[in-house]
Symmetry: C2
Subunit: 297 residues, 2 copies
């Protein structure tokens, strides 16, 4: 997905929010803002939004000297998710359709996206869980996803954020496939999950976890390691969580199911849904590429 | 008032909204965005927000070739305000305190600010009137304002937006001073009122109307004509409407009453009030200058 003009004020706001999270020093806030405006001024709009976010957050880390600005926040949401996990696991097991309930909870977990909303309250996570358990979900897509996971021999599950990945664990526990690899980021980027987070929520105990070799808040294949790209090519089914993975992989010709909560107007419009919608959608590269050609012409 | 970092994403969003209002041509949207980001990247943060908005809207007019992008919108809100005017005038006259009611309605009219909110529905104007008639208002400031207008020999009333100025007419009709000059912008800037709007709402029939020689969405004295600055110096009381005039005049050493509705978080924080508050406040240059020195140190 390309970067839309509406993404630009949002990048600038995100950069300011992140700079403020790291330091109270207004001189650094100013350096970050001027740096980001300079980057945005020359940006390639045919790159996906995470490509720009990658540049912005590299700049913030460089200017502040703080390697992992969201470390504490990630820890807080890991702990919150772990606290909720046993009860949610019981809820999945007790439900009439554990697979559907697990999909709904995996979508709910995607609210923990601090790129879109820096100040996320814990109560909002609880509210989102309640909404996600009963909100509208594309039942045709769910059926197709259930069949695809039943047939897949080799699933690559690309995670999104710290905390959220404990919700992914609930879904992974429902997948019949024995060969599942979970993917985290190689370096800190916003509150995206890294290997440490996968260990904390116990994902490393149940599946193989690899990193993608990149510090982009999505999956920009050319920014990923060769080892990851090989794994991506080998998998017969990819499950990709969150907006950043949708933005970077929706034009890739591969069987991918995207699972996310639509949290910004640009994504909602691109998906043809309302903000707050539960999204389970299969990649439709034919359509995406046609749209892209039209956009570029 | 200086420009805060939070104003910057808002400038970028405003520029996009304005460019879209003028044209559907995405190439022009892109030129506007890149141009604005380039300007913002090098901006002087000790200038007030309207100084940047002036540059942005000059760029939009230049790139689109449209001299008055908000012409239709201004006309629409002039007509709306004129339609409401007779009933509001009756309401003022029938109220127990016509002066207070007129102040409240002048504040209500300040919702018609398309710099802050591009898509303003007419129903929101009606809602705002209802809220403004009963919402909290600083009664000490009202008393001081009433006394100041009773004693003033020469009032300069600096207007803000088209449509809104019909609400200002209601207040002007309650001012006992015989020597009142109303000020409009010299050239089109967002939906700020110009001489034509003052004629349409009938202000030119009841007071002297002058323009300030500038196309900034506020009163940047150095950007105004010498004739306006002389008039500003001579007046013994200045009434300044709206956020733009507050942002540009709050540091000027002069008896000024600001009348506005706080519509953005930066202004609300600067004034120490909530968004949506009714604001009637006298200039406190001593305090402002101290703050300014602290900020600069």
């Amino acid at each position: 997905m390309r970067t839309y003009f509406d993404c630009i004020p949002c990048f600038v706001r995100q950069a300011l929010d992140s700079a403020r999270l790291v330091t109270d020093d207004e001189h650094i806030h100013e350096q970050v803002m001027r740096g980001v405006l300079g980057l945005a001024c020359k940006m390639d709009l045919y790159e996906s939004p995470p490509a720009m976010a990658q540049k912005i957050h590299r700049l913030i880390r460089k200017l502040t000297g703080v390697e992992d600005p969201y470390l504490q926040t990630k820890s807080r949401f890991n702990q919150l998710a772990l606290k909720m996990y046993p009860e949610l696991q019981e809820q999945v097991q007790a439900s009439t359709d554990p697979f559907e309930t697990a999909v709904r909870l995996a979508i709910a977990g995607n609210i923990i996206d601090l790129g879109v909303k820096t100040g996320l309250a814990e109560s909002q996570v609880e509210e989102t869980i309640a909404q996600s358990l009963t909100g509208p979900l594309d039942m045709e897509a769910l059926k197709e996803f259930r069949n695809a996971t039943a047939q897949a021999k080799d699933i690559l599950y690309i995670g999104d954020n710290a905390g959220e990945i404990a919700f992914d664990r609930l879904l992974i526990e429902q997948l019949p496939c024995e060969n599942i690899t979970f993917v985290v980021k190689a370096g800190p980027i916003i509150n995206d999950a890294t290997m440490k987070d996968a260990e904390i929520v116990g994902l490393t105990d149940i599946v193989t976890v690899i990193d993608n070799g990149s510090d982009a808040p999505g999956t920009i294949l050319e920014s990923c390691s060769e080892a990851f790209r090989r794994r991506f090519d080998e998998a017969d089914l990819v499950i990709a969580k969150g907006q950043g993975n949708y933005e970077t992989l929706s034009d890739v010709d591969k069987d991918i199911f995207f699972i996310l909560r639509a949290k910004c107007p640009v994504i909602a419009q691109h998906l043809g849904c309302e903000i707050g919608s539960l999204v389970l959608v299969k990649n439709q590269v034919g359509i995406c590429n046609e749209e892209k050609l039209e956009e570029r012409s």
